[in-house]
Each structure stands twice: as C-alpha cells, then as structure tokens.
Symmetry: C2
Subunit: 337 residues, 2 copies
DNA sequence: GGTCAAAATAATAGCGCTACGATTTTTAAC
DNA sequence: GTTAAAAATCGTAGCGCTATTATTTTGACC
C-alpha cells in the first residue's frame, strides 16, 4: 500500500484489517481466505490453521458490507411488525431472530405503529439493504408497498394472517375462525347475550377479523351480540373502560386480546362482579399471566413460535412450491369463561 | 453494458436499476444523482426534477450496501438486548427505533438470552456491518466483547446501567439506588420484616443490583430482610412460586419486576391474603397493568423512553464530551405497598 | 516416472456507490 | 467585458469482498 493509499484509507476512516492483510500474513491469496471463511472444509488442512491463526492474531473482523456487495445480496432479513410493544410481535421477532441467527442471518426490525404509509417507507428502506428476505405482518398494504415487493426478486413472507393472494409466501391462521371458535365456546357454555371488546380495531385488522368472525357466529346462532370498540391501543385501562360501555345484562365478553381481558378482570373485581358467574371473560394470546390470574383466563393460543419457525423455514428452504402455510391455534378453556 | 456484462449481472441475480441507469436517463452524471440523494439542496433546480423524475420512472431503489462500502460506514445501528420478550427492552428498542429512523438510521436487533458469550458473538456480527453505532445493555461483558469494542472506532453505548468505566458512553441509572429507594419506602411504611423476590438474578445483573441495594438499606435500618431468588425468567408463575418460599411473618415483598409482583398479587388473592394489610407488594417497571390491577401496584418507573432518547442523542451528536448520562427513575406509591 | 483427473489455490474482474479533486458554469465585482 | 470567486457538475479511483475462471498441486493408476 502506498503512502497515498494509506492516507486515503485513514481519511475515509477505514483503517480496518482487511482480508488482504490476513492473506498476506498467512502467505495465501485473498481468495483462499474468503473460501476458508465461507466453506472451511474446502481448504486444505495445511493452510487452514495458518489462516485461522492470522485472523486471530490480526483481530480480523469480516466486512459484511463488502461481502454483500460482491455477492449481490446481504445476509439480513428485514422484519416489519406493527409494534414491538405488543407481546405477540416481540415474541415472534424474538423467535425469528433465534431461528435465523442459527443460519447466519441477521434481523433488521422496523415497526410501523400500525401505519401503512410507514410500512411502505420501511419496505423501501429494507429493499435498499438487498436483504435475503422481507417479512411483513398481515396482508393489508398500500399499493406502493405491493408494487415494490412484486417487482423485487427478494423473498417476501407475510405472517400472522393468511391472505387470499400472498405477495409471495404467507404463514398464519385465519383470525375469523378464531373469533368463530370463541363464539362456539360461548354458545356451548350457554352465554346468549354477549359482547366483543376490541381495542384499535381500525388499525389492528387481525383483531377486527376475530371480531367479525365472533359476531357472525354468535348472530347465526341467534344470540345477542354487541361490538364495543375503542380506538386506544390494547391495555388494561382500555379493557376497563370498555366494560363501562356494555349493557348491564351482558353475560360474557370476548376481548381482542389478553391484556384487554386482564383489564376487564381487574375492573370486574373492583365492581364485585363475580367471574364467570356474573360475567364470563375470554381473551386472545395466552400471554404469561393468563394461566395464573384470578380466575384463570379462557383464551386462544396463537403459536407465535410456530409462526416464527415456519417463516424461518420459508426463508431458508426456498425451493418449496407451497405459498401458504397455516399454523395452529387452540382454545384453552379455563375458569373465566 | 456489454452482453457479457449483462449476462454476468443476471447470473449474480443483480438486475436491479442502478444509479448509473438513473444518471443516463436524466442526462447527468452518477455523482450528481448521488449528491441529489444525499443532499438534495446541493443540486440546481434545473436538474433536480429531472433526476427525481428518472428515479420515479425507473423505480430506482438505492443500494445501501454499495453505499455503505463506498462511504466506509453503514447507516445501521446495532442494538443488543438480553431479551425482546422483556417489556423494558422491547419498549426501549421500539423507542430507539423511532428516534433513530427519524434520522435515517436503521436498527439491527440481536438478543443474547442473557448469555455473555452470545453477546460476544452478536457484537462480532454487528461489527461486521460497520454500523454507525452499537448499543449494548448493561456493563457486564466478556473480555472478548470489551476488547473488540475498545479497538473499534464505532461509537458504543451501554444502556440501562451506569458502569464505573464505560467502554465509550453510557446511559442509565444506578439500580442499587432503586433498591434503596424501595427499601426506604418500606421503612417509612413501617414494614420491618421483608423479602426481595428476584427472578433470574444470576443473569439479570440489574435486578441483582436492585436486590443488593434493597437488602443493604433494609439491614442498615436494622430490619429483617430475606432474599428469595428463582432461576426461572420473570413471570407471574415465578412470582407465585417465590411467595411459597417466604416466611409466614413477612410483612412486605419487593419484587424484581412488575410481572413477578403481579404473580404475587394473584397468588395472594388465591390464598385470601389481603394486600397490603396482610402483605405489602411492590414491583419495578410501572408496566401497563400496574396502575389498574387490584390493588394498584406500588412500583418504580424507569423511564425507558428517556433512556432511548438519550441513547439516540449520544449516537447522533457525537461531539459531546460527556460519557455518562444518568436518567431518572421515580417511585410511584400506590395502594399495594 | 508419466498420465490424467480431481482437488486446491490463485488471479481477475467487478458488485454499486461515494469521496475527492478536477472541471465547467454561474455569479459578483469592478 | 474581464476576472476572480463561488457554485454546480463531472470523472476517477477505489471501498473490501466474492464469483468465476485460470492455474497449480495432488493423488491414483498403470
């Protein structure tokens, strides 16, 4: 390296140890070092230890940015969820990261705060990283998002919902059926005057689908069912507030998720409404506290981990022809309903 | 582009529209397009719209990988937290992502599952992306991690704790003081026989610091204080289980976080222990349910958003000399203790 | 030892972009 | 109109790595 070149590297803030340095130090070519790093079994036992020693000695850290450019594709997977504050998604991202990192893929997260415009911006930014795949939540996207994704060669996975026409690949379950399952449970228990308490249904289209399924099934069975909704995010406070809005004769409420249900439980306790005798309560999510609260919460377990594993599989085994993967959900009957 | 070149690009899966294509299309040089993208005000009003039109027409998506290589530094910030399932960290990541994305930075998350070895692996991978900054949780790292980070020119922020000697920059608060504050609250309320219920204290060093501060302050005041700990992650079930382990005469428990406290609340309710008369309960975190549960939970609010904002500031305004930023916490007295 | 195929290694040519310095155009001042 | 300074634009030379092709080495077999 000439003095000028060195000066330039310093100027650009790039004094890092390069693969070339490792190559020189171990007396092999840069190609061999690269090969060693990507397929260690492909280099002979003679030079492998020499390269390993040089890497160790020089403290070489590979530059994925350069690698990604040369290999025309980075080892990141971009995951876009509505919110990380929501336990479903933080759990999914967590499980996904675990599965992907096992295969040398890194996770770039973005959250849309339930805004489709924000989602489009994030997809645009994600594509700029030439990611190995893009994972989105749900199937409700702007036309711009859809166009961007249809044009690209990057694998796309939509998760948590099952669209009729996936952009590329989808993993999830039909939320309407979840709502219907809960309704059937209510009917079996003899609850004939019920309500659905939904938080943020305008934005949370999955919760809205559950609400729709629930309401339809209840009404088809000739029951009285009322839909309460609150624009605020799901929280115990929202749950408590929505309880105010239901009629006094309502026997059971299905909540858009367990947090809302917990709020209802607390509020009922404050008002001395016995659960489930005076009011039955059910949630969605089977969050940590659902099994331990008082009374234990009847809910639906969505299998976030199964979703994450299936998404990871989709990304890792691209050859499969299947475009749509249905994951399980299970109604967990406990004492609250 | 010759036929051979085109074939090569196709072979490598890189048929994407490049900046050069945009330049040709708008009759300017690639440099001008690059400049327009980075500093739109630096190009004349004559060519700007032509470039914009070409970008739009061709559907050009910039390649940050190439950009990052050329500019010797990518626009990603790598954030490493113990777990995304933990509400503190998912909230911090969420707030951080919001603050950083406003400034065109993207967030690469990794989670260590409370393993320092895993953290080192993640730091290594993170450095490979030549990130704009690396954000770590806490100050407990392997020597390897520390060496890697001390050698690099990349800004490093340790958050949620205040190390004596930050690697580079730190944002957080002293958890021992949090424990002491809670102890003083207990003392003021006249609880003289108390316990600290800690989940996963071996790995969660912050909770362990709170426990230490709490125990010391209680004992310095001449009170009886017992430390219960459970290796399982914080959950309502863990809280309920730990309640079994305390003596019958314990008057108050401080929990390592609100989830554990909630478990204690549930278990107490099951056993008809009146709270706070028979047993006072306090948590840490001021999670959503803390204000709404029965009785409302006395807890400590750690200001996760303030941490995130300060971290973002550290990253964005590098010129500051300050290395250590203390964020606030507040004891929120409610009915449970 | 010589031949040939297979395995291991090396050389080459970019990936798409940005920093830098060089060049051209515009503006300002006289 | 000239000139200098400033602004706008362009051309070049890589950033550090990998895919591909070319070359060398090894090993198997006669």
């Amino acid at each position: 390296m000439t003095e000028v070149e060195k000066a330039q590297r310093v100027r650009r803030g790039m004094e890092r140890v390069t693969m070339m340095d490792v190559a020189r130090h171990s007396g092999v070519s840069a190609s061999s070092v690269s090969l060693f790093l990507r397929k260690p079994e492909a280099v002979s036992a003679k030079i492998a230890p020499r390269i390993a020693a040089a890497i160790e000695k020089l403290g070489y850290v590979p530059n994925y940015v350069a690698g990604g450019l040369a290999a025309a594709g980075s080892r990141v997977v971009s995951v876009i969820v509505p919110s990380l504050r929501n336990a479903f998604f933080s759990e999914t991202v967590s499980a996904l990261e675990k599965n992907l990192s096992r295969n040398g893929l890194q996770t770039l997260v973005g959250h849309t705060e339930y805004s489709l415009e924000q989602e489009e911006r994030l997809v645009r930014a994600a594509l700029s990283w030439a990611p190995a795949a893009i994972v989105l939540t749900g199937n409700d996207h702007t036309d711009g998002t859809r166009n961007l994704l249809l044009k690209t060669a990057t694998p796309v996975v939509e998760m948590w919902e099952l669209p009729d026409a996936p952009i590329d690949c989808a993993v999830g379950f039909p939320h309407e059926e979840v709502g219907r399952a809960m309704a059937r449970h209510f009917i079996a228990r003899g609850y004939e005057n019920v309500a659905f308490l939904g938080a943020r249904l305008d934005e949370d289209t999955r919760a809205a689908s559950r609400a729709r399924g629930f309401m339809e099934e209840m009404r088809e069975a000739g029951c009285k069912a009322q839909l309460i909704s609150d624009p605020a995010p799901a929280s115990t406070a929202t749950g408590a507030r929505m309880l105010d809005a239901i009629g006094n004769d309502v026997r059971a409420v299905a909540c858009s998720n367990d947090i809302v249900a917990l709020g209802v439980l607390f509020e009922a306790q404050k008002r001395d409404l016995t659960i489930p005798d005076r009011l039955a309560v059910a949630g969605f999510g089977d969050l940590d506290f659902a099994a331990n609260c008082v009374p234990p919460l009847t809910t639906i377990r969505p299998q976030a981990e199964q979703i994450a594993e299936t998404v990871a599989n989709c990304i890792l085994n691209r050859e499969s022809e299947q475009r749509s993967y249905r994951t399980d959900f299970a109604l967990i009957p406990r004492r609250s309903a």
